[in-house]
């Protein structure tokens, strides 16, 4: 009797301890780290927290890093074995890591995924996460640029509709230019930074060029148009050293009649512009000519050094599944053509969004190329030299093309 009880007791004990061991193992949490520049008002932090709560076996640590530091921090961390599992990286710099194998190749995982489907994404963003035919990340959001214009000033000058070609743009800017009242015809950015390239490439592309063909005749014409605008002081000379946000600030305060900028400006403009305004597609080289635009914003990627690729990919799937909340809750545009952007109820904003969405169809990625920063620098140098009169647009772009050929040839 005692032995039987004893045996039963032993079995019970053994089972319970096995069970508890089993559940203890199941409770062994996997921790994944995510780095992104989003703060509490933006998607990543919130989605990371939600994912953490949804998945009991996965703990998420989130670190907010600043835009300027993303790549250098990532490189430093990667070199010392401290890289995070997931990072949000600016799209032109994606190839820098992907080409060197620092990011995880997720082509197969995506193929097997129900949530992520490459066909849903706009061509530009998808292009930026691709290298050598394989997928190394998932676009997080996207943005582009278009022409904002001051409807009140248009009405005063008798202009009925926004310009459709480059020549029309220059003409309209001349009409709106009013130095006596401190109003410039146009504002944009030609700064010696990625912003300058971001603004110039669409023009070059519409002219039939591209980063690998930066001295195409159309691109040279684009730079000549820029030079005309600067020479005639249709835009502020400070355009050479000022970014898009500050230039649009001058538009909002009524000191520029038009500005080329992106959807990130919408909230501030709605709050602070004391006039009626609208958005138009970027003017093309000729009537009905090829359209192009810049492509900004970030991509998600998993580092190849991750210890938990499956969990990390699960997180990416979750983020992608929430793309329909990106705009209503956070004001960012998802990089997908299959997600509906709901009306916000604010007339100006909705009208602007329609234009941006249309412009997104023509947005082209910068690169992708692992040496993108050097390519971008060659283009920036050309812009600065041409606009300060140190070289003609043709000569400046020829030199840039030579430099870029050297980089691409490697």
């Amino acid at each position: 009797m005692t032995i039987r009880f004893g045996l039963l007791g032993a079995v019970a004990l053994a089972t319970t301890s096995l069970l508890s061991l089993g559940s203890a193992m199941a409770q062994d949490e996997v921790t994944i780290t995510i780095w992104s520049l989003d703060d509490a008002n933006q998607p990543a932090l919130n989605l990371a927290r939600e994912f953490d709560e949804l998945e009991p076996g996965i703990k998420v640590e989130y670190r907010e890093i600043q835009f300027d530091d993303v790549v250098s921090e990532a490189m430093r961390a990667f070199a010392t074995g401290q890289a995070p599992d997931i990072i949000a990286v600016d799209n032109p710099e994606h190839a820098l890591f992907a080409a060197r194998g620092a990011f995880l190749d997720i082509t197969d995982r995506v193929a097997n995924s129900d949530v992520i489907d490459p066909a849903n994404y706009f061509p530009g963003p998808l292009n930026s996460v691709t290298w050598d035919g394989k997928l190394y990340g998932v676009p997080k959001a996207t943005n582009t640029i278009a022409l904002y214009y001051n409807k009140d000033l248009y009405a005063k000058a008798g202009i009925t509709e926004p310009p459709k070609t480059w020549d029309e743009l220059v003409e309209v800017s001349r009409q709106l230019n009013d130095p006596a009242n401190n109003v410039y015809g146009l504002a944009f950015s030609a700064k010696a930074s990625e912003e300058g390239t971001f603004q110039f490439l669409p023009w070059a592309q519409m002219g039939g060029g591209g980063y690998d063909n930066i001295n195409a005749p159309g691109a040279v014409k684009a730079l000549e148009v820029w030079k005309t605008i600067m020479d005639e002081k249709l835009a502020s000379p400070d355009t050479l050293t000022r970014g898009q946000w500050d230039s649009t600030g001058t538009f909002n305060s009524g000191n520029a009649a038009q500005v080329i900028s992106g959807p990130w400006e919408l909230n501030r403009m709605l709050e602070e512009a004391q006039f009626d305004w609208g958005v138009a597609l970027l003017p093309t080289e000729t009537e009905g000519g090829a359209r192009s635009s810049a492509m900004g914003d970030f991509n998600w990627a998993i580092f190849a050094s991750t210890q938990h690729p499956d969990e990390a990919f699960k997180a990416l799937e979750y983020f992608a599944s929430q793309d329909d909340r990106l705009f209503p809750e956070f004001g960012q545009l998802p990089a997908r053509s299959d997600v509906e952007i709901p009306e916000t109820g604010v007339a100006l904003k909705d009208a602007a969004l329609q234009v941006f969405l249309e412009q997104l169809q023509y947005a082209q990625a910068r690169g992708p190329h692992p040496e993108w920063p050097k390519i971008s620098k060659a283009i920036q140098d050309a812009i600065q030299q041409a606009l300060t009169g140190q070289a003609t647009p043709q000569a400046a772009l020829d030199q840039a093309a030579a430099t870029i050929d050297g980089i691409l040839g490697q």
Partner: protein, 275 residues
């Protein structure tokens, strides 16, 4: 009568000079009250047209500034103390002697601060990662900033020690003090003001340091205020008025504290402490 008029005139000139020099500070205060785009309006408004007084409360809440400021105080004090402890003795010896080895030491001290923090961060990060110091982020930052600030402290304090006459120290030694005793009770008090001013400058410099803190302190709860300031800059947007409001909250108390402190130190100087 003549003297009061001269004094009044001097005061007026001083106020004018200060007003001129402090214009950027005024601009910082004014910008925090302006709306985002008003900053870019031509002609520039010398006073905000629609002061946004709520911005200070907003920024304080949004960034949890209380905690940030506390972290800044911790890091800056740690740096100040460590620098003062290590640097004072070094400066004393470098002031006391003149020979080849001292020249070498002085040269090294100067050279070792030549690189800006942005170029030092990568090797320091790598080194600290290997030593495991990154698990104690605030300590790591204090060590890094001390290394950056110490040469500055040593060079300045050495100049202070140079103004202490050797005869006083020798008299103390003759009286039977040990070297350590003479240093502690005679020389140190006489150079005290230079040391204090330099220490305060180090504190202020460490308070504003952000390159090391940004990279070595990933956890938001431990970050100093300077890192929080940088977080207002997004990839395309920059909330200038919030940045200026944040900076106002951060700069004003330190400046006020300094104005009060330095007055007492320099007052001590001019009252003939040496004699």
């Amino acid at each position: 009568m003549n003297q009061t008029w001269t004094q009044r005139l001097l005061l007026l000139v001083a106020l004018l000079l200060a007003a001129l020099y402090l214009f950027p500070l005024y601009w910082m205060y004014v910008t925090s009250l302006k709306t985002g785009s008003e900053i870019f309006a031509t002609p520039p408004g010398l006073a905000p047209s629609n002061p946004q007084w709520g911005v200070f409360g907003y920024v304080w809440e949004l960034r949890g500034m209380g905690r940030f400021l506390w972290n800044s105080v911790v890091i800056a004090s740690g740096t100040m103390v460590l620098t003062a402890v290590l640097g004072t003795g070094c400066a004393y010896v470098l002031a006391r002697y003149r020979n080849f080895w001292i020249d070498v030491a002085l040269f090294l001290v100067l050279m070792l601060q030549v690189l800006p923090a942005s170029l030092m961060i990568t090797p320091i990060f790598v080194g600290f990662a290997q030593l495991g110091l990154l698990n104690h982020p605030q300590l790591a930052v204090v060590l890094a900033i001390t290394a950056k600030a110490m040469p500055f402290f040593v060079v300045l304090v050495r100049a202070s020690f140079m103004s202490v006459p050797t005869e006083l120290e020798e008299a103390a030694l003759v009286d039977g003090n040990s070297r350590a005793g003479a240093f502690w009770s005679i020389v140190l008090p006489l150079a005290r003001n230079g040391i204090l001013v330099s220490a305060i400058l180090i504190f202020m410099q460490a308070f504003g340091e952000f390159v090391y803190s940004k990279s070595m302190i990933p956890a938001v709860e431990l970050q100093p205020a300077s890192v929080g300031l940088n977080a207002f800059m997004g990839p395309n947007t920059t909330e200038w008025n919030n940045i200026m409001a944040y900076a106002t909250i951060y700069v004003t108390p330190i400046l006020a504290a300094f104005v009060i402190l330095q007055r007492r130190i320099v007052a001590g100087l001019t009252s003939g402490a040496l004699k």
